[in-house]
Symmetry: C2
């Protein structure tokens, strides 16, 4: 199978095999060494000197941690959303009792920093701004540096970033841009199975933690901080995934993050030009097209579900559909982690070949 | 290494290797099949017809889910604790704003159902009772059936159970006893690496959910319920661990849960008689001694840290120490999952052999 969902992604065999290592005591010296080494290497990838923690959860758990560790019920929060995951970030803040102002940009477009500036001008008592770096649902990469320049540089607000499908694939300068919290997850460019989440936490975030009254236990980062000092996680970690993380991080840093980013940029360009070559339309504004996932508009009259099913059954290519209001309107091709030009060509060929039959079958079903 | 911590536990090679399977789309039919099959099999192990969900987290996450999905800030809760994990359950409820009455029994002893009855008589407006089935920190197995007979049978309170180190190792009749919520975790008798948690949720628990005002997102069981109907988890699951779970559950049910429980009872007896044969004292009251972990009192004048370090460095046996106020006072021998008599004899031999040097070195350090 050519798994082209935007997470999980294909994981290299030796990283998968690393998970088969025998269990070890997570409160012993061997695990402490792995925990310290992986934490240090994560900081290199995030380009941060901030505290960085590894959670046993999906990326959504890290998004919840970002909210619950910095805010209190009633706090004013500005959400800048361009899709499903931006909305999710705002939802979490609301569930925990924050007062959320939702800036919503058209799906397929990016966050406009000027609009963020106007919103912050209008609401000076906003405490935190929620931003998705790379919106997986629309295949848009926001210009996080430009957004951060407004949020931190001009207004000095707490900047909470969903970097789940960007970190380790797209340049993300946590400290240089002033991101107070960045959430990420293992099943993206890290070349790992799902199950681990990562979170960076700045000094300002720790000051906010001191005032925060949202309840937290499993995601309480003060516990992670306290335990990391003795080389342990507070709760039993996914030991096998930690073995894999250790191997994958070593490999990524050996390759060099510049090369990793270039690899993603190159495969992103290749995918987009291939889609256009097929005469299909990209969903996202090309100026902000993501280099980790590409969204393709499904031609009128074609049932995207049939197209996806045929691509898998006839060509062994696993594509993703659209989420929520994009359901049926787009298909998505993931290209995070190691992804070869051949795999993309195969995916494009599958789409091209499946389209006529999907079109016929869609018409017949009407 | 002979890993004798009470979780993680040694995992059979073929279950470890199962994790090396290639990634699949967690929103596709192949994953749906695994999710439905493992969920059905989990219900068999828990002896329940209640809804059962798989979380990507440690067992502590499932404990938090038990609280946050059933209670509201200000709700009165009775906690019956016999150790570290019982206290943790109460702590979580307090963090989330519940009003907790803490019944604390001497460490090494079990919960006394009569005391629970008196407490419930005194506080008729208690909404839920928190009970640890098997207290890993003291190696005590509570008589959950007897406690449940009081909590459910006599008072019909919501019964929230930490079954993390009992489920799948000790008899736990979720429905027959009336446990509304049971939390468990993969790195115990399930013979799996850590990273997954399991939770059962009764009709009464769902009614409590309807009134619950504690915030929840990642652990919001209504999302798990909604998504399970379409064969998916709400958030990206630990796919590799799900492969392993699928294999392990098949094996356990093939063996038969009666045989699995007898295996644990037998190895528990063997361990306790071996400890006494060495002239050492068991920490837990023998009437309530756990069959998943044994706690051994460290003789006066012996530094338990030295004993544990020597057992590992000289004999390749990894033991656990005491937690919190038991630190330095006990060592713990885990025997969950597949654990042979030889492995226990080896552990006992390591303790016996390391004791004289540990005693000497402890004296020298004074």
């Amino acid at each position: 199978m050519n798994l082209r969902t935007p997470g999980p992604i294909p994981v290299p065999d030796d990283i998968l095999e690393e998970m088969a290592g025998p269990m070890i005591n997570h409160r012993g010296p061997e695990f402490a060494e792995i925990l310290h080494r992986t934490t240090d290497r994560l900081k290199q990838v995030f380009e941060t000197a901030n505290d960085t923690y590894i959670l046993t959860s999906s990326g959504s758990g890290a998004m919840e941690a970002a909210i619950a560790n910095t805010l209190s019920p009633g706090d004013k929060v500005l959400s800048a959303s361009v899709g499903v995951f931006g909305d999710r970030f705002a939802d979490i803040a609301e569930i925990y009792g924050a007062e959320v102002t939702r800036l919503e940009f058209p799906w397929g477009e990016a966050i406009d920093p000027d609009t963020v500036r106007m919103a912050l001008d209008e609401e000076p008592d906003v405490k935190a701004v929620l931003v998705t770096h790379n919106e997986t649902s629309t295949a848009v990469a926001n210009d996080l540096g430009a957004v951060a320049a407004v949020v931190k540089g001009e207004f000095d607000k707490l900047l909470l970033v969903d970097g789940i499908s960007s970190a380790c694939s797209l340049p993300l300068s946590t400290d240089a841009w002033g991101c107070d919290v960045v959430a990420a997850a293992s099943q993206k460019g890290w070349m790992l199975p799902p199950g681990l989440a990562f979170i960076t936490f700045s000094e300002s975030a720790w000051r906010a933690y001191g005032d925060s009254k949202m309840p937290k236990f499993y995601f309480d980062l003060a516990q992670y901080k306290r335990y990391l000092e003795i080389g342990q996680p507070p709760y039993t970690p996914a030991v096998s995934l930690m073995f894999a993380l250790d191997l994958a991080l070593g490999r990524l840093l050996e390759e060099g993050m510049g090369a990793v980013f270039e690899r993603h940029a190159s495969i992103g360009r290749l995918t987009r030009s291939g889609v256009k070559r097929l005469g299909l339309d990209l969903f996202a504004s090309e100026k902000f097209a993501s280099d980790t996932v590409t969204a393709v508009r499904v031609p009128d009259g074609v049932d995207s579900g049939k197209l996806i099913a045929l691509a898998q059954s006839e060509h062994g290519v696993v594509l993703a559909g659209g989420q929520q209001r994009l359901s049926g309107q787009i298909i998505r091709i993931g290209h995070m982690g190691y992804c070869t030009a051949e795999e993309i060509e195969e995916a494009l060929h599958a789409i091209e070949s499946a389209l006529p039959r999907a079109t016929l079958e869609s018409a017949a079903a009407c």
